[in-house]
Amino acid sequence: MTDGAVPRFWREIPQRYNLIGNQCGTCNRIYFPPRESCPYCRRKSMGKMKELKLKGHGEVLTYSVIYNAPEHFEGQTPYIIAIIKLDEGPKVTTQIVDCEIDDIKIGMRVQSTFRKIQEDGYIGAIYYGFKFKPIEVK
């Protein structure tokens, strides 16, 4: 699905590398990915959306294990996908890594990590971004 669409994915580097979302200046709701305006405050929020870097900590709301890979993900199966609720509020769809399939649980605390997401074959661009791993307890 990337198929050489380099600018399209370059634009999203701040989101994929550093979880940059934004916050409505009127109601303080936080969005990821960032939005032009707040769906609830609408006109009042235009020009008032503030960039915000999310911490990358959250919990697993649900998950699945993919056995039939889509294009660009062949050879990686089985892999875990999950919906994570970030501590700041927004939810993301992502892969879970560094975790055995038998150990993945709803409610698990996770943190973001930097991985290769996909690439345009052997000659195309490589796209990096976030995946999540079980939180390292200190």
């Binding site: 699945s64 889509p70 993301v92 995946k131």
Partner: protein, 408 residues
């Protein structure tokens, strides 16, 4: 706030309906077989369904004011856009120069095409229209069909990271199992029921019942969904002819009225939803349809719901109000939705056994309900079916179209 806004909009819709709209009836239907139809092209399929519908309706074609066609992804499946014009031409209407409209809403393209056709007649703009739905999915090789279906997901924030169509529905299943105790057995029973129904349907892609163990042991696609929890890749087409209800008897003695229609949208991504286990798009589309039809869920005698995956049927019967939220699994255990159950669901075999040529499905569901209400459903006939409901969902619930029909 979230509760007041939709209720206000339903109220406004209700007032408008009373003022502007006239009743619309379905006067003819046509469906092709669904399956891997190597000998039939996209053009063959829609022409076959369309001509069957015209024949069934008794119109010659000269009466048509417009043509609507629902198809999800003709560009990727058959390299063709500008499909409204193509279908009008290939159906033999090019020389009539009627308006032709192609409608898209992922897997709800067919249902939405019917709704658009309905509005054009209800508003008085058109008197007679034909609405078709078609998808030709087997001309592409290997995984291309699955990857094309995935264009209905959020490309930037779901598909890009490796989420697949079955994977997203699987995540709904995992959460449903966690919150409500739904089991893999209950999911599998949905497949068993629908294959048993499909065995009675001459148009179905799969005409054999399958035992529970086979579903449970099918290869894993995306945990907890196995291969037999998933609807197939299919070719097929269906068409219906709509006309103003007060003129229907000029053409047929078995017209079926569209009592109500509803449509709703929601966030494109599953992760953006209010509740992972609920399709609010189904809830709101259903509510609008029930309001217009002036009926309650209990009044529905037969329903065709969007079971692209077994879990989808479970949440559909909850979201349409047939059972309480969380009790979709219990419903299949208690056989509420079998052919002789309290509310038979997917007598045709559903998407699971009948097949799921994406753009055709929404129209085919309506054709099935028409057959049921006319008493023409053969071995899979639901007794005394007077009011039927068709429920068509786009991708992972970002859009939904519901129609309620009644024999008149």
């Amino acid at each position: 706030m979230l509760i007041i806004q939709p209720m206000l909009s339903i109220g406004i819709f209700y007032m408008r309906t009373d003022k502007m709209m006239r009743d619309v009836a379905i006067i003819g239907i046509g469906v092709t077989k669904f399956g891997e139809l190597w000998d039939k092209s996209f053009r063959n399929l829609i022409a076959e369904a369309g001509s069957k519908a015209l024949f069934d309706s008794g119109i010659s074609g000269k009466e048509l004011d417009a043509l609507y066609v629902g198809s999800m992804s003709t560009g990727r499946f058959v390299g063709q856009e500008h499909v409204g014009a193509l279908v009008a031409d290939w159906s033999g209407f090019a020389h009539m120069h009627i308006p032709a409209i192609r409608v898209e809403s992922a897997c709800a393209s067919g249902g939405l095409a019917v709704r658009q056709g309905y509005f054009s007649v209800a508003s008085g703009m058109n008197d007679v229209v034909v609405v078709g739905g078609v998808e030709k999915m087997t001309d592409v090789v290997g995984d291309e069909a699955t990857d094309t279906l995935a264009t209905g997901l959020d490309q930037e924030w779901e598909a890009f990271f490796g989420a697949t169509f079955p994977g997203l529905y699987a995540m709904i299943a995992t959460r449903h199992m966690y919150e409500y105790g739904t089991t893999r057995e209950q999911l599998a029973k949905i497949a068993v029921k629908n294959h048993a129904n499909g065995a009675l349907n001459p148009y179905a892609q799969f005409k054999r019942a399958i035992p529970l163990e086979k579903v449970l042991n099918s290869p894993m696609t995306a945990y907890p969904l196995g291969m037999l929890d998933c609807s197939p890749v299919s070719d097929g087409a269906a068409a219906v002819v709509l006309c103003a209800a007060d003129k229907a008897k000029n053409y047929t003695d078995k017209p079926v009225k569209i009592l109500g229609t509803g449509q709703a949208s929601d966030t494109l991504s599953l992760h953006g939803r209010r509740d992972i286990c609920t399709f609010d798009s189904t809830v709101y589309a259903g509510k609008k349809a029930y309001e217009q039809a002036k009926i309650k869920p209990d009044d529905v005698d037969v329903a065709e719901v969007h079971d692209c995956f077994t879990i989808a049927e479970i949440i559909a019967i909850e979201d349409l109000g047939f059972v309480k939220k969380g009790e979709g699994g219990k419903a299949i255990d208690e056989k509420i939705t079998t052919l002789d159950g309290k509310i038979p669901v997917n007598p045709s075999g559903g998407l699971k056994a009948k097949g799921h040529p994406v753009g055709a499905t929404g129209v085919a569901q309506i054709a099935e309900i028409v057959m049921q209400l006319r008493g023409e459903a053969g071995d899979r006939q639901v007794k005394d079916a007077k009011i039927g409901l068709a429920h068509n969902v786009g991708a992972v619930g970002a859009s939904c179209v519901v129609h309620i029909l009644e024999a008149i």
